[in-house]
């Protein structure tokens, strides 16, 4: 098996997902380097690559000028992977899309609002074809390893497509609704080991919706616990602005 060449690229993001990629045990890094050839990873190496087999993209598209750069990467890559919520579903970046461009530009650069190029934040799949994605904000390092390994082995990425609730129950948590909080877990893709609810928080949806979310039932739950529909939709805003099921345009 020849080692696939892997290159990392980033767009608008916090680069936390790339840092998670580096969060490896020493043996894991050595093993990983036996399986793939990292030819470009700006955060950690100086080399730049002209050719690669797998492109791993972090970050969302927020400028028209990002598009040709992304397309070029797509043209060169055999497999293109979206890394993390920003690339996968627009991530936190898309929260600004609820405001007009004027509003957010004005708010941030009041003295020179038009100064910097920007437009609405998008997932990379809205611009180019994406072959696989690794969800989460940030990604789970083990899931990253699993997806890469599976691709090298010629397997499907193998992400779960069921709600966070399942993992939350496996962790024996008391449901956060019982504790008076609201949670998007019932419609969000598992795979994070229900990190947030298991650590005293609630799920705010960073891994995106499952394929067949029952959003109607999610609304009923909100009512049952005397929480408001508006507040629930407000929570969806954090990570799911790009999702047409939640926010039909």
């Amino acid at each position: 098996m020849s080692k696939p060449k892997v290159a990392f690229f980033d767009f608008a993001s916090c680069e936390g997902c790339q840092l998670c990629v580096l969060d490896l045990h020493p043996e894991q890094l050595l093993d990983l380097l036996n399986v793939i050839d990292i030819v470009e990873f700006r955060e950690a190496i100086s080399e730049k690559a002209d050719t690669f087999d797998i492109a791993i993209i972090e970050g969302s598209i927020t400028r028209e000028s990002d598009i040709p750069r992304l397309q070029k990467i797509r043209d060169k890559a055999k497999i293109l992977i979206a890394l993390g919520a920003c690339a996968h579903i627009g991530g936190i970046n898309a929260l600004k899309n609820f405001q007009t461009k004027d509003e957010y530009q004005e708010a941030v650069y009041p003295t020179a609002p038009q100064k910097y190029e920007t437009s609405h934040a998008r997932a990379i799949s809205e611009v180019v074809q994406v072959d696989a994605f690794i969800p989460g904000c940030p990604i789970d390092t083990n899931e990253f390893i699993k997806v890469v390994k599976n691709l090298v082995l010629g397997k499907k990425p193998g992400l779960p497509d069921y709600p966070v609730c399942m993992e939350c129950k496996k962790n024996e948590n008391v449901c956060v609704y019982e504790l008076g909080m609201q949670c998007l877990g019932p419609v969000i893709r598992a795979g994070c080991d229900a990190r947030c609810p298991s650590n005293g928080g609630y799920c705010f949806g960073c891994r995106g919706l499952i394929t067949e979310p029952n959003l109607h039932s999610q609304k009923d739950i909100i009512q049952k616990y005397n929480l408001t529909y508006e507040k629930m939709m407000d929570k969806f805003k954090l990570f799911l602005e790009r999702n047409k099921e939640v926010f039909p345009k």
Binding site: L19, H25, I45, T62, Q105, P110, T118, N199, G201
Partner: protein
């Protein structure tokens, strides 16, 4: 000596975020000298508008993956300042541990992955896997320690899940605390093994005195609370941070810049060291002396050494915090409080320097206005000024060498450009 040099480095590697360097020397005269930030602006302050206090840390942690805990700490402090909440000793200790986790991850990444290859003449850490495997393995373990402390205390290091206004939603068991103590002690032993390597580094002999700004609390090497200290003018209340930062925009960068007493100032490990060195732990002081780091130090290439010294201090601090938690017992705290409308400011030290979060809340606890000032933005002008001082003295070198020295200088500042670029300023009356 008359020489033409044109340097254009697109996307400086081994830094977080996107930055370009542009230098134009004609007939020995410096015509142009720029550090460009080409990162896409992300408009965080706009996004914070109308968000609930429970989400302000959740959102701002996403400004930067590597300073994520720092943003959380700054954000929580700002909210607590606004609501008039005092946090408990226990919470302070837990936050101290989170802060240590982040500094371990960040400093180790910077020292070993970004800076060491420069001194070792390698393009990156990857070739070192073959030549210096023990060092690479050690570095990965130390970095991982940062992540693991983050996981154990805060749910995870990058974008922690358990850190909330007033108190954590999760508490560590005594076993975890013992483990942390043990591993921080181990970390010190491991770090000592690399002192020899650091000593072999030939650090460019470049000095330029500037203004050094950091957090300050008498008697402490301050990270999490205190006022602002300037090496030029002394102490200023954290509430008056805007008097220090004076943000402004330049054409070639999406990141805002800052200036105070002079044209530029420096924040970060070296600024902290220069201002607070007397309160380093004994071990850290010894290491500093051993590595030839003496305050005041005006050589920006020494930032890396200052970070290394901080790792010892932080380990000692972490051991103290964990021991105090063990001695006093840890309990899940009540997180109830009353929301008060008004403004709150948080100032904390993150790996790259001092950071400010400034929120105005309404009576429902929703943000009306926000301002976040990030360390790298504050350093940018200082880096450019260093360029200006450095370039004329190295014109006799080859273009490659000049480029490398400039890149090394940028990397020494450990700039987290990704976050600096997203930050904006909302004027307060």
């Amino acid at each position: 000596m008359s020489k033409d040099v044109k340097i254009d480095i697109q996307h400086i590697t081994r830094v977080e975020g996107h930055g370009n360097i542009k230098i134009d020397v004609q007939s020995g005269e410096l015509k142009e000298c720029k550090l460009e930030i080409v990162e896409a602006p992300r408009f965080f302050e706009a996004m914070l508008k109308n968000r609930h206090y429970d989400e302000s840390a959740l959102i701002t942690s996403r400004i930067c993956g590597i300073c994520s805990v720092g943003h959380v700490l700054g954000s929580l402090t700002a909210s607590e300042d606004a609501f008039g909440i005092k946090i408990s000793e226990q919470e302070k200790n837990l936050r101290c541990l989170m802060n240590i986790g982040e500094h371990y991850e960040s400093h180790v990444l910077h020292i070993y992955f970004l800076a060491v290859p420069d001194f070792a003449g390698a393009k990156s850490v990857l070739p070192l896997v073959n030549t210096h495997k023990d060092v690479v393995v050690r570095a990965l373990k130390l970095k991982k320690l940062g992540h693991e402390i983050g996981n154990m205390i805060g749910g995870r290091l990058i974008h922690p899940t358990a850190m909330r206004v007033k108190a954590m939603t999760k508490i560590p068991t005594p076993e975890i605390l013992h483990d942390i103590i043990h591993r921080l002690e181990e970390a010190k032993t491991e770090l000592k093994k690399d002192i020899g390597i650091l000593k072999t580094f030939i650090i460019p002999n470049f000095e330029r005195e500037t203004e050094y700004i950091s957090l300050y609390k008498y008697g402490e090497y301050a990270f999490l609370e205190g006022n602002i200290y300037s090496s030029d003018i002394g102490e200023t209340s954290y509430k008056n941070y805007l008097d220090i930062t004076n943000e402004y925009l330049v054409d070639h960068s999406t990141a805002k810049r800052a200036k105070h007493n002079r044209k530029s100032y420096m924040v970060g490990a070296l600024a902290r060291f220069n201002n607070n060195h007397q309160w380093l732990s004994e071990d850290a002081k010894t290491i500093a002396a051993d590595l030839g780091l003496k305050a005041p130090c005006y050589n920006p290439y020494m930032i890396t050494i200052a970070q290394f010294v901080e790792l010892f201090h932080l380990a000692d601090e972490g051991i103290k915090a964990a021991q105090s938690l063990l001695d006093n017992g840890v309990e899940l705290e009540n997180r109830k409080f009353t929301i008060k409308p008004g403004r709150g400011i948080g100032a904390v030290e993150v790996p790259r320097g001092i950071l400010f979060h400034d929120y105005v809340y309404n009576d429902q606890g929703y943000i009306q206005k926000a301002n976040c000032i990030i360390p790298t933005g504050q350093n940018l002008q200082n880096i450019e000024d260093d360029f200006r001082a450095l370039v004329p003295t190295i014109l006799d070198k080859s273009k490659e060498d000049i480029s490398l020295m400039l890149e090394m200088l940028v990397r020494a500042y450990d700039p987290c450009i990704s976050c600096s670029a997203h930050i904006l300023n909302v004027e307060f009356e």
